[in-house]
């Protein structure tokens, strides 16, 4: 149990730290690498939450798929110019303040609801075998959304192909 919480805080620190770095890096590739780190850390968190399947999906899909796509695109568009430009736009201060305000509000909301909403650590110790459970849910109860998601993916694929073509 101690190991669990140690690991959690390790992953959390890793995720937050590299997220901050990701937002602040000048070089986009570095940013991508830090984002990957964040995602991996999050995957670790998933693992701690006994969501192995989601962990795998996170690693294969997010890290192994989407982020590869990102890095691919980053390498296709040249960076040398953007390295020399300002990295933050004109509204950065206002934006930061507002974002922090929003964060504070959410914080407040959680705080207010904490007592009533989350009974401390009420976790059923024995969970069903995760992968099978997820599969049952996906192909049983969530069949329709699943298919819709697949259609969404198809549309996205076609859209991406059309847009990335040289001459549309």
């Amino acid at each position: 149990m101690v190991l669990n919480s140690i690991l959690f805080y390790f992953f959390a620190a890793l995720a937050v730290g590299s997220a901050i770095l990701m937002v602040t890096r000048r070089n986009v590739v570095h940013g991508a690498v830090y984002l990957i780190t964040t995602l991996l850390a999050t995957a670790g968190v998933f693992l701690l939450l006994q969501a192995e399947f989601l962990f795998i999906v996170q690693v294969i899909l997010y890290v192994g798929g989407i982020m590869v796509l990102f890095i691919f695109v980053i390498m296709l568009v040249n960076l040398d110019i953007s390295l020399l430009q300002y990295q933050f736009n004109r509204q950065r201060f206002v934006a930061a303040v507002l974002a922090l305000a929003l964060g504070a509000q959410i914080f407040l909301a959680i705080k207010m609801g904490q007592k009533s909403l989350f009974p401390q650590a009420s976790v059923p110790e024995i969970l069903p075998k995760n992968t099978e459970a997820v599969a049952d849910a996906l192909f049983g109860h969530f069949m329709l959304p699943f298919e819709i998601a697949s259609i969404l993916l198809l549309v996205a694929m076609i859209g991406a192909v059309v847009m990335a073509k040289r001459r549309v």
Partner: protein, 100 residues
């Protein structure tokens, strides 16, 4: 055992960072990545709650979220590529052609 609210703080932090990134960075790719970060924070929430209630629905939703993230990334990057080919720039505040 880690209490649920810890996960929420984590996701809140990630979410805020993501929002800051989306609002302040000029580079479109980094903006997209920040959006991924936000989605990720949401996922943490979903999984945490699903773990709390001992059901997998949250994870299923997380999977859907990841699917959407994939779609969004594909289309977004496609747009970025096309845009870069035409305008030779990656800066969000130079993409104001809608205005005219």
């Amino acid at each position: 055992m880690v209490p649920v609210d810890q996960y929420l703080w984590l996701s809140l932090a990630l979410f805020t960072i993501g929002v800051i990134g989306v609002l302040t960075r000029r580079n479109v790719i980094i903006i997209l990545m920040s959006i991924e970060l936000i989605l990720n924070a949401v996922n943490i929430n979903l999984v945490a709650f699903s773990h709390m209630f001992g059901t997998v629905d949250g994870q299923v939703f997380a999977i859907f979220v990841i699917t959407d993230a994939a779609a969004e990334a594909a289309v977004g990057l496609g747009i970025i590529l096309a845009f870069f080919r035409n305008r030779e720039t990656l800066l969000a505040d130079e993409m104001d052609m809608l205005k005219w």
